[in-house]
């Protein structure tokens, strides 16, 4: 995957580039907004990682310009501004996700992967399939090996998110943000309990567990 990092903090950019490179991505760096815009216009990127506050042209203006020009490349905003209002501003400007600094590297990788996947599945699927697990989005039913699994509405949403990002690590914060739509860190392990409930429903009684715990990152649904 080809990723553009627009970040004026060169050390942070270098660390990101190295980490993303090690996970098999091709990375291009830009040190300010204008440089970033030029690079993004050249095109060919799968994901843009854009810092919000930069010299010459800030991240918001950069993404707004790209969107106006019809460039729909997924954008992950990085920002030290973490209030809900700031997040909303970022998403309204055309960002697809918003990560507050400082962040765990696993979180960054998970979100970048999630964004790239989002682009691939642009068509509206009515049935999601991961291995022998099948989700009917219209009938709101889930089957594994033909056996119906009974899920609560929230469990259904949780599994849907995991299935849409099958094979990728998703973090607890991502789940809380995307499934519950809260943007704070709970002090207790609420998410883990929900996952373990879901796990007991989709994995119990089957020979192979699908819902994996990824140490230091979160969870992953494997086919």
């Amino acid at each position: 995957m080809k990723i553009l990092i627009v970040e004026d903090d060169l050390e942070a950019a270098e660390a990101m580039a190295r980490g993303l490179g090690e996970t098999g991505h091709e990375v291009v760096k830009a040190a300010d907004g204008e440089e970033g815009l030029t690079a993004a216009r050249a095109g060919g990127f799968d994901v843009l990682i854009v810092d919000r506050m930069m010299p010459k042209m800030d991240g918001i203006a950069l993404v707004e310009t790209l969107r106006r020009e019809g460039d729909g490349t997924p954008v992950l905003f990085l920002s030290a501004l973490g209030e809900v209002g700031d997040r909303v501003t970022g998403l309204q400007a055309g960002g697809d996700d918003y990560l507050v600094k400082p962040y765990a590297f696993a979180e960054l990788i998970a979100r970048v992967s999630a964004l790239s996947r989002r682009r691939e599945t642009g068509s509206v699927a009515t049935v999601l399939k991961v291995g022998d697990l099948e989700m009917d989005l219209i009938g709101r039913t889930v089957h594994r090996q033909g056996k119906e699994i009974d899920l609560q509405p929230r469990e259904f949403q949780l599994l849907e998110f995991m299935m849409r990002h099958a094979g990728q690590s998703v973090t607890r914060t991502m789940l809380l943000e995307k499934v519950w739509e809260y943007h704070f860190d709970p002090q207790t392990n609420v998410i883990d309990v929900h996952i373990s409930r879901l796990r007991s429903k989709i994995d119990k009684g089957f020979d192979r567990p699908m819902l994996q715990t990824v140490r230091g990152a979160g969870y992953r649904l494997d086919a």
Binding site: V84, G85, Y182, Q187, T188
Partner: protein, 467 residues
């Protein structure tokens, strides 16, 4: 030269403006009175002169110049108040009560003139008296002048004029003193406000304007100013306090982190100890510091803003149902009986995210302190006062009654965070959220002793009714 303060005040300037308008109106009114009185007197005298002239020219037309002469002689004897002069065709005086005509240039047409006659009073002093007269050429070429002493009229006019000046002066004096009185009154009220502003400018945020209880616009202004200063003072205190708290809350975990890294470095250097383990530990510590930092920052922003950002009006029942759904499995996992009692159809005006976080923090706390086999109850209801109450009751150890007020105070003042990690800050955030929404936090006893533990704690977050 600078004018005394009182003359520079806005009310005084307004008074001057009104005075000028009023004086113009008064002037027009006085002019009308002048025309109607003094003007009238002159007109009447002129009419009488004309009548006398007609009477004499009538005699002339009937019986010639001798009849006029005769009339003049008779009239001089009868002491009529008219002045006469009859000149012959050659311009020489024939008869009359004055010697020469006061008309300088006479072209033959009837001519009016104003002049002065010399008179003598009882004591023999001479003085001039104003007079008016009309001169006409008679048909035979003789010239007749009829005049009248208008001294009496003039004196009357003079009186009127003097009275008018007096009245005008009175208007100005009354207006000016009224203006001074009004502006002094207003100035005194304004001086109080200006004094407060000056004090605040000089750094005394505690200065407040006096409210006199008259409920006039000055009182309203003073009250508004005081409220603004209250908020400003709270906000400043919040900023300062938040700064102190951040320093306190971050210093100890950072010190710990540094000590651990240092110890790990020494160990690794010496060839003993596992660097990976030390790094994992350091990462965890850093995450802890970040969590603390985020919590303190949220609290600080709330306290500094004084109000919740982006509030919306919504049904708190739905939000609470969501939160319940999030925590219910956790309780079940810990073998805690969780129940929610949510009144539907209520309305609160709040920042959704902050309210959700406050409730989550309260539930986190309840879960942390409630032993297995206990119970947690989340309830949303409307109080009879119209306030909306979110309460979380647990069967944990609770807080002794004597300590409750102090505990809340400590949440509010962030003191907890220094010794305990996480929980204290979480509740401090709840307190900050309550305050930012104009609400409050109440601590109470729980349901009493349940099994091994008790008596439990009931924390209520109370928000004002949505306006």
């Amino acid at each position: 030269m600078r004018l005394p303060r009182i003359f520079r005040t806005t009310p005084f300037r307004l008074t001057l403006l009104f005075l000028a308008l009023f004086a113009s109106a008064a002037l027009a009114f006085l002019a009308y009175i002048y025309v109607a009185t003094a003007g009238e007197a002159t007109r009447r005298t002129d009419q009488e002169i004309v009548r006398e002239m007609r009477s004499l020219t009538g005699a002339y037309d009937r019986a010639g110049v001798d009849a006029v002469n005769q009339s003049l002689i008779e009239r001089a004897a009868s002491e009529r108040p008219f002045l006469y002069l009859l000149l012959g065709t050659d311009g020489k005086r024939i008869s009359g009560s004055i010697e020469t005509s006061p008309v300088d240039k006479f072209d033959g047409s009837p001519t009016w003139t104003s002049f002065a006659i010399t008179d003598q009073n009882a004591r023999g002093q001479t003085f001039k008296r104003p007079a008016r007269g009309l001169q006409e050429r008679l048909k035979g070429g003789e010239v007749l002048f009829v005049g009248a002493d208008v001294g009496e009229d003039e004196a009357y006019v003079l009186k009127v004029v003097r009275a008018l000046w007096g009245a005008g002066g009175l208007v100005v004096v009354l207006g000016l003193s009224g203006g001074v009185l009004v502006s002094r009154n207003v100035s005194r009220s304004m001086a109080g406000l200006a004094g407060v502003l000056e004090a605040v400018n000089n750094g005394d945020l505690g200065a407040r304007a006096p409210v006199r209880g008259t409920r006039d616009e000055f009182d309203e202004l003073a009250q508004g100013l005081n409220e603004m200063l209250d908020r400003l003072e709270r906000s400043m205190a919040g900023h300062k306090h938040a700064g102190d708290a951040i320093a306190h809350d971050l210093r100890s975990p950072l010190t710990r982190l540094r000590a651990r890294l240092e110890a790990a470095y020494i160990d690794v250097e010496a060839g003993k100890g596992d660097p990976t383990k030390a790094l994992v530990q350091a990462l965890e510590d850093t995450d802890g510091v970040l969590k603390t930092f985020n919590a303190v920052l949220s609290i600080a922003r709330l306290q500094a803003a004084g109000t919740a950002p982006d509030p919306t009006v919504f049904d708190p029942g739905e939000l609470t149902a969501d939160i319940s759904e999030l925590y219910e499995p956790l309780c079940e996992d810990k073998n805690i009986d969780f129940a929610a009692e949510l009144t539907k159809g209520l309305q609160v005006r709040a920042n959704r995210e902050f309210l959700a976080q406050a409730l989550a923090n309260l539930l986190d706390n309840a879960v942390k302190y409630t032993p297995a086999g206990g119970a947690i109850m989340l309830r949303v209801r409307r109080r009879s006062s119209g306030e909306v109450e979110f309460s979380i009751t647990d069967t944990g150890p609770g807080v002794p009654e004597a300590d409750r007020a102090r505990v809340i105070e400590r949440f509010v003042r962030l003191e907890n965070s220094r010794n305990t990690s996480g929980a204290g800050l979480g509740l401090s955030l709840v307190a900050a959220v309550a305050e930012a929404h104009g609400g409050r936090l109440e601590l109470d006893e729980g349901p009493g002793k349940v099994g091994e533990s008790g008596p439990g704690l009931r924390v209520a977050l109370i928000l004002p009714r949505a306006a």
